[in-house]
């Protein structure tokens, strides 16, 4: 009886400790801080007071409720594209095809959204349909490199880059072509698809710039589900096992090829849902340009979040807010939007080269542990 109590108590204490273990957060936070310091030096070098510039940036991000909503809205699609990288990453795959998976998911959603039956379908059904359509589009575009990897050994980095190009030029052709008219809305002044059925539009929460819509909750829910799947399901266990030690996975009876294909396809689906939510919630039509760089930024966000689906939520919010705030900095302090891009890139640089951050902020961590365990091994051998 006492034993059980002891055991339960120690388990409880362990859980609390884990919950308060901020160690994994230190490096990303340090990297962000360091990037802003270096960015500040850059701004000072062109003769602008960096504090003024950053103050303008901060107000651009969160200066009013409208701006807060706009910043959040900017962040929503990143959650999907970052998840597309993170999930594949946990299976040991480097999916840099989110850019293409977004485009294919987006155009599939837009096409389905303009089908005649959608106009007669109530929103409770039409919205799930358009989201699923986006997921299916992305799923297919992720499934292809997955199959190529599993069956032929073709590396997913190469194939996803190529599939990005195929998707980009493919959707451009579908949307640009006037004769034959394929998906282009001939009445619009720019190349884009027709508007989707009003019943398939995700409701707007705040009419900010851009508008904040229910897609936010969709993407947060997807992140949470993915976190649960990875942490608690047998499929998640199989995925991470394949990603950590494919030989052991094979030995343990896991169908490694099946996991590789599924992980790539599902990754694509996450990007596809994000694209569908943008098509449905923000523009109500599909225009290829709106997705430029969202997939590539997803790589950066996933790395910043260390491929943790829950951490992707705040990482995306940070990323999107910076992009949303940058124009005000340009307007008020005369510092180009590109500086924000430079700072973002530096964040990544410092996360990747985390030894620098650990050195500057005296963070003792995994690198130290590793050195210790190497020493122990040597002592033992």
């Amino acid at each position: 009886m006492n034993d059980r109590l002891d055991k339960g108590l120690s388990g409880f204490i362990r859980k609390i400790r884990e919950a308060w273990d901020l160690q994994p957060l230190l490096v990303p936070l340090g990297a962000i801080l360091l990037s802003f310091i270096v960015g500040g030096v850059l701004i000072a070098m062109i003769g602008v007071n960096p504090f003024e510039a950053y103050w303008a940036l901060l107000r651009g991000m969160f200066g009013s409720w409208d701006r807060v909503a706009g910043s959040i809205a900017r962040s929503v699609p990143f959650m999907g594209s970052a998840l597309a990288l993170a999930f594949a990453f946990r299976a040991g795959l480097f999916n840099i095809g989110a850019e293409g998976q977004l485009l294919v998911g987006g155009i599939t959603a837009a096409w389905v959204g303009t089908l005649t039956f959608m106009y007669h379908t109530p929103s409770v059904i039409a919205i799930p349909i358009i989201l699923i359509a986006g997921a299916v589009g992305g799923y297919v575009w992720g499934w292809i490199p997955g199959v190529l990897r599993a069956r032929t050994g073709a590396h997913e980095v190469i194939t996803t880059i190529m599939l990005n190009s195929i998707a980009l030029f493919g959707v451009r052709w579908l949307v640009n072509s006037r004769d034959p008219q394929i998906l282009r809305d001939l009445t619009a002044s720019v190349p884009r698809t027709k508007a989707i059925s009003p019943t398939a539009v995700l409701p707007t929460i705040v009419d900010s710039q851009p508008n904040l819509h229910m897609g936010l909750f969709v993407m947060i829910a997807v992140c949470i589900v993915v976190a649960f799947v990875l942490r608690r399901t047998t499929f998640g266990f199989e995925t991470i096992t394949v990603g950590t030690n494919p030989n052991a996975a094979l030995y343990a009876g896991i169908n490694v090829n099946r996991i590789i294909i599924l992980a790539m396809a599902l990754s694509g689906a996450f990007a596809g849902i994000a694209a569908a939510s943008e098509v449905s919630g923000t523009n109500q039509f599909f225009q290829p340009g709106t997705f430029a760089f969202i997939g590539f930024d997803g790589i950066a966000i996933a790395l910043l979040a260390r491929a943790n689906p829950i951490a992707i939520i705040p990482a995306s919010l940070l990323w999107g807010s910076l992009l949303a705030g940058a124009p005000l900095m340009q307007l008020e302090a005369g510092v180009s939007i590109d500086v924000v891009r430079i700072i973002q890139s530096m964040v990544l640089l410092f996360v990747a080269a985390d030894a620098i951050v650990r050195y500057v902020f005296h963070i003792r961590g995994e690198a130290g542990h590793q050195m210790e365990s190497v020493a122990t091994e040597e002592a033992e051998s």
Binding site: T233, T234, F237, N245, Y251, S373, A379, E380
Partner: protein
């Protein structure tokens, strides 16, 4: 060569202590090496042998203590200085470049030059000299990648001698050799000391120590456990010193009661990664209640054979029948579900996921079965409980079941695999190199577990490169040579000599038929 009367110490280690964070690898070690002797350093894995020689070779700086070479105290800043002082080391894992020739490998790092050009003729001439002087037969122009393991080791020796080393440190030199090659190697070592070289010989094989040593020092837990005289020491006395308690050598094994055929392999052919048919026409039967040992020099198809039988590797031809089912085309999962357990050759590559907890590794092959999962959702507390029970039952030393398994020692890691594989019903047990790199205590334990399983009616296929292991466990012994069984012996009748010859050559000394 000067003739010496009394023993002249060429190397004198006094009070060396070396610690790593949390580990005392060496504590107050004294060691003397006299001119022209072979000093064996004996100890289990983790006893501190490698740390000690790395201190001597200048790879580690000792925290305390002194090292004297020929009476002069030295503090090496690196390996280069050790080599300048005439110390040479042959590592367990050869440091050779396979695409270079023997001569190129030998001069690497100490290139003989003539202006900007390498003077390969000079190098060849000096290698030939060494060859004559010590009986180290190597062709300077052969590519190292084409040489046998035994020949590669000779290249390593030539490399050290080329740099005029006269104190040689040999780290587990016989681990990779066949019994025949070991004899040749000992002859070379003898001729080296006869000509005045001094040798520190590291090993954990008791038989070799007694065969070759002039003096023996036994390490245990980083300290000197004792010294022994090879004239009076026995394997038993050395083992007790190494382990610190009485060791049971002869495995307690009753008679086998073979039953039905549990594994039948017919005419199996398997390709390796380079599409070489490394298993070629292998046929064998293993019955319930017996241990069938497969002896053979490594690289004769053992790995591919085991992987093919367990479904991890595609078969190029032939059939495999497990417990009455045709298992030729089954997946590893299906084969496991028939009642097969598999202790893999390479525990880090296949047997474990290093970053996973001990608990997750305990269920690596049954994570999806009840009670460890309900439908698709894992039940982590059931996993935790199972792991704690097995840790207790199999006496696995770990701070908790939640620590990553790569923080455990090799012996405890292997015990985790054994615990996992031997839980539940096992009708066919496939075991590959089960005690590689383990200490005597763990070896004893794992051997006992395998025999227990046999006595409970499992058929056991044991693949091992350790002839002693095969001989002490097997009821029947097959010799694998170039992917085929070249002989099958009764476990009680087989001798080391007979098996060793067959392993090395694929045929028996006489023209007589192979017993089967």
């Amino acid at each position: 060569m000067t003739v010496v009367d009394g023993p002249v110490p060429v190397l004198d280690v006094r009070g060396v202590t070396k610690t790593f964070p949390g580990v005392i690898a060496n504590e107050d070690i004294d060691l003397t090496l006299n001119q022209g002797e072979i000093h064996c350093l004996l100890g289990e894995n983790g006893a501190g042998k490698s740390t000690l020689v790395n201190v001597i070779f200048g790879l580690y700086k000792p925290d305390k203590g002194t090292v004297k070479v020929r009476g002069e105290e030295v503090k090496f800043a690196g390996v280069g200085e050790a080599i300048e002082h005439g110390i040479g080391m042959v590592h367990q894992h050869f440091q050779l470049i396979p695409v270079f020739t023997v001569a190129e490998n030998v001069i690497l790092g100490d290139e003989l030059t003539n202006g900007p050009f390498l003077s390969m003729n000079e190098a060849r001439r000096r290698i030939r000299e060494l060859e004559e002087q010590y009986g180290l037969i190597v062709d300077p122009d052969a590519k190292v990648g084409d040489l046998s393991v035994g020949e590669q080791q000779r290249v390593e020796l030539v490399k050290a001698l080329f740099r005029e080393a006269d104190i040689l440190i040999l780290d587990e030199p016989t681990a990779v050799l066949t019994p025949g090659e070991v004899d040749d190697f000992f002859a070379v070592v003898r001729s080296l000391v006869d000509q005045g070289k001094s040798i520190i010989f590291i090993t954990h094989k008791l038989r070799e120590v007694l065969a070759v040593a002039d003096r023996i020092t036994v390490l245990r837990n980083g300290r000197i456990a004792g010294t022994a005289d090879p004239a009076t020491a026995t394997q038993q006395s050395l083992a007790n010193l190494m382990v610190g308690r009485d060791v049971v050598f002869q495995v307690d094994k009753g008679e086998a009661h073979p039953g039905e055929v549990a594994l039948r392999v017919e005419d199996l052919s398997v390709e390796d990664e380079r599409s070489v048919m490394t298993v070629n026409g292998f046929s064998a039967e293993v019955r319930a209640g017996e241990i069938f040992g497969i002896a053979g020099v490594e690289g004769n198809g053992q790995r591919e054979l085991v992987e093919a039988i367990t479904g991890m590797r595609r078969k190029a031809g032939g059939t495999v029948e497990i417990l009455g089912h045709n298992a030729t085309k089954l997946t590893p999962r299906k084969i496991a579900e028939l009642g097969t357990a598999h202790i893999p050759e390479d525990r880090n590559k296949h047997g474990l996921v290093g970053s996973y907890s001990v608990a997750d590794n305990m269920v690596l092959n049954k994570y999806s079965q009840a009670p460890f999962a309900r439908r698709w959702v894992r039940n982590t507390s059931a996993v935790h409980d199972e792991a704690e029970e097995l840790v207790e039952q199999f006496d696995i030393r770990t701070p908790s079941v939640d620590v990553p398994i790569d923080t455990l020692s090799g012996g405890n890691q292997q015990k985790v695999i054994v615990a996992r594989e031997l839980t539940g019903d096992v009708d066919l047990l496939i075991v590959a190199q089960p005690t590689r790199g383990l200490d005597v205590g763990s070896i004893e334990y794992i051997h006992q577990q395998i025999i227990d399983r046999r006595d409970r009616g499992a058929a056991v296929l044991l693949v091992s490169a350790e002839l002693d292991e095969i001989l002490s466990l097997s009821d029947r012994i097959g010799v694998l040579y170039r992917g085929r069984l070249v002989g099958v012996f009764d476990g009680a009748d087989a001798t080391r000599e007979e098996l060793g010859y067959l392993m090395a050559t694929g045929s028996t000394p006489d023209t007589e038929e192979v017993a089967s």
